[in-house]
Amino acid sequence: MTGNWLCWLYQYGLGGLLFLGILGSAVQTRALRLDSPSDRRLLIILLIGFFAFLTIHGLWIAAVQ
């Protein structure tokens, strides 16, 4: 069953790098403007979504094990 934790790490590790990398580039190029309230709200929703999926999958694996 440790295989499922490996999958979880792989998905949110590599996927997280991609996710955060794009967010960082967007801030740097001002495609995402932190001085705009709507952009800040969008950033927060994106981060909440990412951590929600990460947490749900983690708790799910822990519960089954």
Partner: protein, 625 residues
């Protein structure tokens, strides 16, 4: 285990009540499409639904487009064989969302793109556009034929008769919806179809839970491996986590949201970038997980029933499991409802593909090359003929697919060859200003070439295969079919970077609005002036009156202009105040000089007609930018 193959003949005799439900659905969907056709007046309406819809309409329609042919069959089969890990395809899109929402969406929306190949010409050059055009047409037409074939197969399996006759009958019905109204009709039909297919899938799941004696009994009956959210890391070769991650979460998701013309049309049919972002967030966070339960739930139920001693499937791989479970759980009438939902899933995807191919044919071939400079009415008429031609060609291509035992697998191989280079080119093109036209073109050509070679020399993939097992008895082209995507992405990335370093980039001045760092310029060009952030998204409701104001312009009372923080020249959206119409009756306009009369919006008769607005209704005015 194969994902598809020769049909399993079920030899049902449908109850008259089931027939009645199916017939009601089919007649209803055609009438609905024809009624909504009256909102289609221009090619923009036909391809993009007039860019008028609210976010929730597009989100639900996207689900109907996504859940298509074989979704119920395939994911129920996966659910039966692999458990809850069948959901991952519907729950692993989150990583790509920043790229889509912050980069790709504003690029395509503010550039007023109507097709994907158009982006490739503006960002790179004409030869890259033509290369992409060829790939996309083959991709779409192949999928149309595949959908027609799968519809024919499904109906033939259940009811007998001839596959081509069933496929032709469905083609005629969906052609009526498309011919009548294009994207507007398809969007509204999709709305109904999405509710139908989601509710039917969930109904089957909940009926199964009840049959098993509650959720705890269902859960406890499942083997532990079926209870886990992820598949095994790298085996069996038919379905494993790492293959699914690279071929679906990364390549498949980017392909689906960035390259698939029918999804582009859904996203661009909404009234603003802000609404399009809401569409995507709702779809990925809420609707997709629900859809995952709807399409895979029957398989999980079946596994629990079989664990309890029931005998359900006649196929060793569980290909028929969805139909078997539905047959066992549903009473007459309910069975017809679920079958109508299955048809809805098939038809909505087909309609979206047909509308997409006519968009590509008109905007990328007809308008620029064959008959440039004609009236919009001419292109609209031609788009409808192309839609019909797409069906005819799809039907003619069915015999090409028939000899294959596993068409789905053939299409998966086709995707693995074509999609990775396009994914790399589109991502580099959108985020990297230095990425050159030569690199884009040769990455597409050489990347696809390398993938073709890998079909004959699969050992090329082995170093990246993460230990994926290979069956010695399989022909070489079947080896590493899951991991071919990672190979394609890696080769294309190296090619893209390498060629870029030795070739000349496009002048920065020609990239306004086409790459991540120039989105602000694109926004400015879209508005025709400096965008105003103040008051964006704020809306007010007031009465409306026809007035000889300049077309595409409205005049608001001074007080309302102040409340919206709007200035003359700002972009506004005027819609019927009934929210549940989802923007069906609406129009984009600019703010004109304010007036000091009563609380009334002054609008030209042309714009009232264009937006399908009713003068006896109040309107909601929203500031867009």
């Amino acid at each position: 285990m194969e994902n598809a193959g020769p049909p399993v003949t079920l030899n049902f005799s449908l109850h008259p009540l089931d027939w009645a439900v199916i017939a009601t659905y089919l007649v209803g969907i055609v009438l609905l499409g024809m009624w909504f056709g009256k909102f289609t007046k221009t090619t923009k309406d036909f391809f993009l639904g007039g860019q008028r819809f609210s976010w929730w309409v597009a989100a639900v329609a996207c689900v109907a487009t996504l859940v298509g042919s074989y979704s119920f069959m395939q994911y129920s089969q996966n659910g039966y064989n692999f458990g809850f890990s069948s959901m991952t395809a519907y729950t692993n899109d989150w990583f790509v969302l920043p790229l889509f929402l912050l980069v790709w969406l504003p690029i395509i929306y503010y550039s007023r793109l109507t097709s994907i190949p158009e982006y490739f010409e503006r960002r790179f050059d004409r030869r890259t556009r033509i290369a992409v055009l060829v790939i996309i047409i083959i991709y779409l037409q192949g999928y149309i034929a595949f959908n027609l074939y799968s519809i024919g197969l499904a109906l033939q399996s259940m009811l007998g008769g001839h596959l081509i006759i069933w496929a032709a009958a469905i083609a005629v019905l969906t052609a009526l919806v498309i011919y009548a109204g294009g994207a507007t009709s398809v969007m509204m039909a999709d709305l109904l179809q999405a509710f139908l297919l989601l509710s039917a899938g969930l109904l089957v799941f909940f009926l199964g839970i009840r049959e098993l004696g509650g959720f705890a009994a269902f859960w406890n009956a499942l083997p532990t491996r079926h209870q886990l959210p992820f598949a095994q890391f790298n085996q069996p070769k038919e379905f494993h986590f790492v293959g699914d991650f690279w071929s679906d979460a990364i390549t498949g998701t980017i392909a689906f949201y960035f390259i698939n013309q029918s999804v582009l049309q859904r996203i661009l049919s909404v009234k603003s970038v802000r609404e399009a972002r809401k569409t995507m967030l709702c779809q990925v966070l809420v609707l997709m997980p629900i859809a995952a339960v709807a399409v895979g739930g029957a398989g999980w139920i079946a596994r629990a029933m079989v664990a309890g001693g029931a005998s359900l499937t006649q196929d060793p791989n569980g290909k028929d499991i969805f139909i078997r479970v539905v047959q066992k759980l549903c009473a007459p009438g309910v069975f017809g409802f679920v079958m109508a939902a299955l048809l809805a899933a098939l038809m909505s995807t087909l309609e979206a593909l047909i509308n997409a191919i006519s968009a590509v044919a008109i905007n990328d071939i007809w308008r620029p090359f064959i008959r440039p400079g004609r009236s919009d009415t001419y292109y609209l008429r031609t788009a409808r003929y192309v839609a019909v031609a797409g069906y005819v060609l799809g039907l003619l291509l069915i015999p090409v697919f028939q000899p294959f035992g596993s068409i789905y697998e053939a299409l998966t191989h086709f995707n693995a060859i074509v999609v990775p280079p396009m994914v790399v080119v589109i991502v580099f093109g959108a985020v990297w200003k230095r990425f050159t036209p030569a690199a884009a073109f040769w990455t597409l050509i050489l990347g696809a070439g390398a993938l073709l070679v890998s079909l004959f020399v699969p050992d090329l993939i082995t170093p990246l295969a993460h230990g994926e097992p290979v069956l010695a008895t399989d022909p070489p082209w079947k080896h590493h079919s899951f991991m071919r995507s990672l190979f394609g992405l890696s080769v294309s990335t190296v090619l893209g970077i390498g060629i870029t370093l030795f070739t000349r980039p496009k002048p920065v001045g020609e990239l306004a609005g086409l790459v991540m760092s120039t989105i602000a310029e694109g926004k400015r060009n879209f508005k025709g002036g400096e965008p105003s952030e103040a008051g964006v998204g704020r809306s007010l409701v007031l009465s409306m009156a026809a007035d000889p104001v300049e077309p595409a312009t409205v005049r608001l009372p001074i007080r309302f202009m102040r409340e919206l923080e709007a200035e003359p020249g700002d972009m506004l959206y005027v819609a019927d105040d009934r929210w549940w119409l989802g923007g069906l009756r609406s129009v984009h306009v600019k703010a004109g000089p304010p007036h000091d009369q009563d609380d009334v919006l002054l609008i030209s008769p042309d714009d009232i007609e264009r937006g399908g607005l009713k003068t006896d209704r109040r309107v909601c005015v929203e500031k867009l930018m």
